[in-house]
């Protein structure tokens, strides 16, 4: 030892002291730290957050624009039993059956007396039922917790919200969109440890959605139609406040959703929209300076288009002014207007509105538009009144918004949109003067044209009707119609644009055997507007809004 420390005693002692001092210092520091910790307790900032338990990645809630839950994850318990551990089978059955009336006592007895270690009694109990059964305290019974997706409002906005499969993977609608953005993105929204949970906010307003769907449902029943669709969109922000497609389904039980007629018709299908498409042709002719409201078109003779003829549904056989072409919905006049603009120019104009491309929104069901491969003279003539070109109804609504809102095209969305982002999104596609003329024509058509039945008193509705013949077996059929009303309100400064389409409405006695749009789609749209306008905060007005007034109003947007 002594050798180790080397030389003489005093040296060794001083080294010993040095080491001792070192130890004292170190332990002193440690002791002081412990004393500090002891005095201060455990700092709350040090809590390590526990990992989210469970075997399933959580999904974000989906809420409507007012925060009402449309889809959420709920824990549900399933009741199982271990028959070997059930002491008194009779008592167990007697206790259980009053709470689970759908269980058959005889079958249950057979199950419980079998020599098994595990049997399911009832899957997916509600939390309340679970509590009740738990309180019964029957030996040999237990619960397994599972998480499942619940849609509290059932079929409301089902086509937008979509649904998930048993493994909680989105199969349609916004649910699928969330998955496409990445499971982790979806999970991050749902992270229960965040102070603020971030549900997915839709642009849908469930009240408007319900009113629209109900009116469509009534129309489908009344006119014995195959289906119907409706879209209501904010004309300025592009937010879809309601979109419905009938027949619909309940996402809590989505087995119906896969049937062919349950498709989402507003983006998942393309249609030849018919005369409602004329609005686009008119806007083009105004914007290119080819026509104005005083222009005249000779509609006395049908137009030759290849091997067939283009004629009018309400033939006037005279020279019509532009507003008359619109209100009588003259195919001849509109086709002539498109031809005057020019065939390639027409094609370019439609391309500019995105009619040739699949419109992509958050709802993943998006059908690709159909059009002839070669854009010919006949194509221009037929496309001018909405035949020979099939588009998603939402595409037409988005275009219609631009026609009436002052010429700004805003891409439609199913998610709530921050108004601050609008200037970056909107694209000026038409002149303000074109838009004013279109508002005039829309309103004129309701005041004295084919859409008189769309009058929702006080809300200044305007719009264009369309009765499209459907192709059945390769030919246009006079008996199979797709009727639409494309409109907006209030017409002097449109806040909302909408479309109502009824698929194959039948003529009725009360419609005097007619089945054109003016007799079914138009009155349905009128009822829809009368119901939704108060919900959307539009004040009814007592003073009349005339078409001429809209034309004079230079200030309007």
């Amino acid at each position: 030892m002594r050798r180790w420390f080397g030389g003489d005693g005093s040296m060794a002692r001083s080294r010993g002291r040095l080491i001792l001092g070192g130890f004292v210092l170190c332990f002193g520091v440690l002791g002081a730290r412990i004393a500090l910790l002891g005095a201060g307790g455990l700092g709350s900032d040090r809590i390590v957050t526990a990992a989210v338990s469970g075997d399933r990645i959580p999904r974000a809630d989906i809420v409507d624009r007012n925060g009402l839950v449309l889809a959420t994850d709920l824990r549900s318990a399933s009741l199982f039993a271990n028959p070997r551990k059930v002491n008194d089978v009779d008592e167990a059955i007697e206790l259980l059956t009053p709470h689970l009336p759908e269980l058959d006592a005889g079958k249950l007895r057979k199950k419980l007396t079998a020599d098994k270690g595990f049997i399911w009694i009832k899957r997916e109990l509600t939390p309340r039922l679970q509590e009740t059964i738990h309180d019964l305290g029957i030996a040999g019974f237990g619960f397994r917790n599972e998480t499942r997706r619940i849609y509290p409002m059932g079929p409301v906005a089902a086509h937008v919200v979509g649904f998930v499969d048993v493994d909680s993977i989105g199969l349609a609608g916004i649910e699928k969109y969330l998955d496409a953005r990445g499971r982790l993105f979806a999970a991050s929204l749902a992270d229960p440890l965040k102070h603020r949970s971030a549900p997915v906010e839709l642009s849908i307003d469930v009240r408007v959605q319900h009113a629209l769907t109900e009116e469509l449902r009534k129309a489908v029943e009344k006119f014995k139609a195959k289906g119907a669709l409706g879209i209501v969109m904010d004309a300025r922000s592009g937010e879809v406040v309601a979109a419905s497609s009938l027949p619909d389904f309940n996402p809590n039980d989505p087995k119906d959703a896969l049937k062919k007629d349950r498709i989402n018709r507003f983006t998942g299908g393309v249609f030849e929209m018919g005369s409602v498409f004329k609005a686009v042709t008119f806007a083009m002719a105004f914007d290119k300076g080819i026509s104005n409201l005083a222009s005249r078109y000779d509609v006395r003779a049908p137009l030759r288009a290849g091997s067939s003829k283009i004629d009018d549904f309400h033939p006037q056989r005279r020279i019509l002014t532009v507003p008359e072409v619109f209100t009588y919905s003259s195919n001849i006049g509109t086709a002539k207007m498109a031809l005057a603009v020019g065939i390639p120019q027409h094609e370019e104009f439609l391309r500019g509105f995105g009619f040739f491309e699949r419109l992509r929104t958050e709802v993943p069901e998006a059908a690709a538009p159909l059009r002839p491969r070669r854009w010919s003279r006949v194509t221009t003539m037929t496309a001018s009144f909405g035949h020979g070109i099939s588009v998603q109804p939402l595409q037409l609504v988005a275009a219609s918004a631009a026609l009436v809102n002052g010429g700004r095209y805003v891409p439609p969305t199913f998610l709530k949109r921050d108004p601050a982002r609008l200037p970056d999104l909107a694209r000026q596609v038409l002149g303000a003067d074109t838009s004013r003329k279109m508002r005039y024509l829309y309103r004129l058509n309701v005041v004295k044209g084919t859409a008189k039945k769309a009058k929702a008193e006080g809300y200044a509705v305007g719009g264009k009707t369309g009765t499209a013949e459907k192709v059945v077996g390769g030919r246009y059929s006079k008996q199979h119609r797709f009727n639409s009303f494309l409109g907006a309100f209030p017409m002097d400064s449109p806040r909302y644009v909408f479309v109502v389409s009824i698929d194959e409405p039948q003529p009725l006695k009360e419609t005097f055997g007619f089945a054109t749009s003016g007799w079914n789609a138009v009155p349905t749209a009128g009822k829809v507007v009368a119901r939704i306008a108060p919900l959307l905060g539009i004040r009814p007005r007592t003073e009349p809004v005339t078409a001429e007034g809209i034309l004079r109003d230079k200030a309007g947007g």
């Binding site: 002791g31 709920l74 509290p152």
Partner: protein, 142 residues
């Protein structure tokens, strides 16, 4: 001198050890409490989710429509009943004339008697659903 110092240090070590032992105990307790609190928070969150889902179900427009039709005397807004600005003075006398008739009907008492039946547990469809989540799930494949 060294001996005294050693004794002091031994005492200090014992004291510190005791303190460490106490702290460890405390931290273990805190850990348990933390887990329990986390469980409770998760439970509460689950309850909040459930209640929000139930609230949403109870707010289903179709249901509200039915209840409103039954208990409220309200009617859809009609532009014919909207009085333009500046004409209120002329319109009010007419409105007053209409009032006695309405009082005779006494919608408020009807409403109250209606709510009573609802509160006393009479089977009012959808009004006092005992188990909304159950209703949502109803009709699903079992």
């Amino acid at each position: 001198m060294i001996r005294v110092l050693n004794i002091c240090l031994v005492i200090a070590v014992l004291a510190v050890a005791l303190q460490v032992y106490g702290l460890e105990h405390e931290s273990r307790d805190a850990g348990k409490r933390l887990t329990k609190l986390h469980e409770e928070i998760a439970e509460e969150r689950e309850t909040i989710r459930r209640l929000r889902a139930e609230w949403s179900y109870l707010n289903t427009p179709a249901r509200l429509e039915k209840l409103a039709a039954r208990y409220l005397a309200h009617e859809p807004e009609d532009v014919a009943r909207v009085v333009p600005d500046g004409q209120i003075g002329e319109q009010v006398p007419q409105l007053q004339k209409a009032e006695p008739e309405e009082q005779a009907a006494d919608p408020i008492s009807e409403m109250l008697s209606g709510t009573e039946t609802a509160v006393s547990g009479a089977p009012v469809e959808g009004a006092a659903a005992a188990d909304p989540i159950g209703d949502i799930l109803k009709g699903m494949d079992q």
